[in-house]
């Protein structure tokens, strides 16, 4: 069963704390993505990963970094979280360029 998983599903952090969001996929997809979704702004691309240790900034990378050490795992890291990073974060994967994207269930992050 093709699946993208995200952990945790809900997270509350204080401003200045570090945050680690994890994403996994069992489809051996080369490409993985991190998005955030905010009311009125839709889905915005944070980072793309083309494969292990091959990452590229998306449209809103500031304040985030990523890590991909295995093809099936893609992490989003917030060093010293800010209140304006409160959002719902989605991970997605696709086999490659121009291919359909499959989304995880999302992580709702609240930064107080």
């Amino acid at each position: 069963d093709m699946k993208v998983t995200q952990m945790p599903r809900y997270l509350i952090k204080r401003m200045g704390e570090n945050v680690l969001l994890e994403c996994g996929q069992d489809m051996s997809h080369e490409t993985m993505y991190w998005y955030r979704q905010d009311p009125g702004l839709g889905l915005q691309l944070i980072y793309i990963s083309y494969d292990v240790d091959s990452n590229s900034e998306g449209d809103i990378p500031k304040g985030y970094r990523v890590s991909r050490k295995k093809r099936e795992h893609f992490s989003l890291i917030l060093d010293s979280a800010k209140t304006n990073q409160t959002s719902v974060y989605f991970c997605a994967s696709s086999p490659g360029q121009k291919d359909e994207q499959y989304f995880g269930p999302g992580t709702r992050l609240t930064v107080l």
Binding site: L43, V88, K98, F103
Partner: protein, 108 residues
């Protein structure tokens, strides 16, 4: 860069009615994907249709590439179809741009 606009922003139907959702994009698309987002927030891919017409169940998508538009037709709507429908378009490469969505409410 690519811009994606969806209309209408919201739509209210009675169960059994048909729905027509529109997606317009600023540049010729090589990728076009329709998603459903449930009221709980999960995102599900419905159709990938960069050109032509595609059917799945009660859904039909028609994309006219030269006119930079795509539509999603939902026939015989059900209350469980309620949610937000998102269109995503890409011009090649890895990146797609999402529209703001159409919020559909189907009442019994």
């Amino acid at each position: 860069g690519q811009q994606v606009q969806q209309s209408p922003a919201s739509l209210v139907l009675q169960e059994g009615e048909n729905a027509e959702l529109q997606c317009n994009f600023s540049s010729t698309a090589t990728q076009l994907q329709w998603f459903y987002q449930s009221p709980g927030g999960s995102l599900v891919s419905l159709l990938s249709n960069p050109s032509g017409t595609k059917h799945t169940g009660r859904l039909t998508s028609t994309t006219v590439t030269k006119e930079r538009r795509s539509s999603l037709h939902i026939s015989s709507s059900q209350t469980t179809d309620s949610g937000t429908y998102l269109c995503a378009s890409g011009t090649g490469g890895y990146k797609v741009v999402f529209g703001s969505g159409t919020r559909l409410l189907v009442s019994p």
